[in-house]
Subunit: 409 residues, 2 copies
């Protein structure tokens, strides 16, 4: 038997409790021994729940109990979890977390401590919820130079964009419904502005290329400016708009960004709808691989957390290295990143001619739903040139939006 | 440094050589040490290839060399590889294989020997080529009771069905082109009759439920009877025809089969085209997860083989248990398995009425391309009842084909 402690009894923590309890038989078989929840740390009381029997309000109970071998951190936030996780690792306890903010901010440092103490720091659930993407990056795609990672990493925004696409609804209306249904937070900023996806693509990039990507350096654009008209253009282009996190390993260096993009219907990510997530990885030997599943939710996330607990139990006496060093990853200035875009411009024939003279090699698209404007699909440009050309056009035309498009090489 | 030996220098063996050579830097980093190919076993000579320097015709050179710690078996066949793999494990060498026939026939026995000798027997590449599905089943989806596995497990047949669907071609014509392009073998039986997919769903079922599925007990139907008219019906039903391996963990027991099926366009597997493979897994906690990638080909398969070599190196002194016992898995008699089907019948109004009286609750579909017939989409039936009803109808009508349909519960 192995004793574990869960820090936090919120959405994920209660899911972990449920998974461990309900699937005891299969988990015991997979782990090779029974997993016993000895403590749950939470400041609240849960008088009507079984958890009350193992509840503690004091983290020291857990840290000082030598019989606790695995600590599960599912509290959220950065500062307090960081303190607790660090202390647990230093006490030679394995740590499992679902906390992407913690991993993005402190991952390599905590991995380093884990290595020194010959324990494991595992965080499968921090990206893609129940999708086994991180273990696949760390343990399976180990024979490849990773050339690209591209993911739909946030279920809330994917749900919103899917509803806008399928039911012709406006952003604000879908967001309101999503909040009512509990799919979106009351303060949806972290999701709709892309901050959540940004931390996840930072973690994926770090694991893909073995250095530390600073999420603060990753260009991040959300979906709040996407309108019904944008969706109409997407349909006209046989594409869908998806909020994606992208990181590419090019001869010039590593680029990374989060932004809404037009993906053609043939792209494997274009069929990922609703609150599902998916991560597409390109290796120089394996080619294209994709992982798909529930990116959030209590039980799917808890499933990934518990699978990490099982892994920790199986590797109780073996630290398994993760190829993520503290060395800083140079991220290419976005100026040099090559993009294509759909640029929406108010006006008619005259403006079209002007726009095409600026966007040489561009192509005009129009939609029924907006007769007072048109769009140019640009040729491939650098972000810098694209931005400059938009500034130039804006001098005597109204540029209404611009959405990046997938550039396949 | 760790020495490895490759048994067989065919499609996969030469791919392994190429991956290890070209990606030396990243592989060394991931494995924590350099991987050196000390021997390649093949009966042929390769005078113009670097491999000639490490070539041997005698397996004893490898088995008797204590410095060889990992043996890669990529020969194909069952009897000879079995002898070599068993001998290597008994000499306490880790073994990695891409050989699905070997794994389906001898997997649990070889795993047992590996456990006794404290080494690892790894076979990621035997299912889904480069797709990291087996490690995900063994190491990631360990907190779940697996309820269903469903996969497009054979690239050749998926290529053929995709071409038939997208270009309106007949089976024989596409097969001929596929053979010319090297996508299909000269003797395509194992692929087009579903035998290859059958071994793969047997391996997946064994790993999903922890017992040994005997592939000979799995109902297997190929795609040779699929015609252009069938494809027309699929389109009419907003579906595609895919050859799938399915295994379900139901309250009545485990069912498994390989057959062409009509999948609705919303099904995640319906968008998997060309020679790509994908495996869909449903867990009781994680929900739906899908894995997608190249199911065959020299380099994608070799990528999976080498990732197993890296795993073996990382676990040099630790046997990691695989939840696959020698205990026989009871597979439900197919009679009891619930299906729905599209049944094509020659005739007009009179026959329709008769057919509907037999297939109560059925629904008629017709297509422009075949005006002398119609099809019934049946209600959900057991395989046995379905077969009996078809026999009954066949007494005074011509039943032209029947294709199973996805039953989601």
């Amino acid at each position: 038997m192995v004793n574990i402690a869960i820090l936090g009894f919120g959405t994920v923590g209660s899911g972990v409790y449920e998974v461990v309890t309900k699937n005891k038989e299969v988990i015991t078989r997979k782990a090779g021994m029974e997993i016993n929840i000895k403590y749950v740390l939470d400041l609240r009381e849960f008088p009507d729940h079984d958890v009350n029997k193992v509840l503690t309000h004091n983290v020291e109970d857990i840290l000082n109990d030598e019989s606790v071998q695995v600590v599960v951190e599912v509290m959220g936030g950065v500062d307090v979890p960081y303190k607790f996780v660090k202390a647990a690792l230093e006490k030679e306890k394995h740590v499992v977390t679902s906390n992407k903010a913690l991993v993005a901010a402190k991952g390599p440092e905590l991995l380093h401590i884990a290595k020194q103490k010959n324990v494991n720091f595992l965080f499968e659930a921090s990206v893609g919820g129940g999708i086994p993407i991180l273990r696949s990056m760390n343990r399976s795609l180990t024979a490849d130079v990773i050339l690209e990672v591209m993911g739909i990493l946030n279920g809330t925004t994917n749900y919103i964009l899917t509803e806008m696409t399928e039911n012709g609804l406006a952003f604000d209306d879908v967001l309101k419904t999503a909040q009512e249904l509990g799919y979106a937070e009351k303060d949806p900023t972290a999701d709709v502005e892309g901050y959540d996806a940004c931390r996840k693509i930072a973690i994926l990039s770090s694991l893909a290329y073995g250095k530390t990507a600073n999420f603060e350096e990753i260009l991040t654009e959300g979906i709040t400016k996407i309108t019904k008209i944008d969706i109409s253009y997407a349909k006209k282009c046989k594409s869908v708009i998806k909020l994606v996190g992208v990181s590419k390993n090019t001869p010039e260096g590593i680029s990374a960004f989060v932004a809404p993009m037009l993906l053609p219907k043939e792209h494997p990510l274009s069929n990922v709808n609703g609150s599902f997530n998916a991560i597409f990885v390109k290796g120089n030997m394996v080619g294209d691989v994709m992982f798909y599943g529930r990116g959030a939710g209590s039980l799917p996330t808890a499933s990934a957390v518990v699978s990490d607990v099982v892994a920790a139990v199986r590797h109780k006496h073996l630290h398994v290295d993760v190829d993520w060093t503290t060395e800083k990853m140079e991220i290419l200035s976005n100026d040099h990143v090559k993009v294509k875009a759909l640029v929406r411009i108010a006006g008619g024939e005259e403006q079209k001619q002007k726009a095409l003279s600026v966007f040489e090699g561009g192509e005009i698209v129009t939609v029924e739903e907006a007769k007072d404007e048109f769009a140019v699909i640009t040729a491939i440009e650098t972000e810098k040139t694209l931005a400059e050309k938009i500034v130039q056009l804006s001098k005597d035309m109204e540029v209404r939006n611009r959405i990046r498009m997938e550039v396949s090489e």
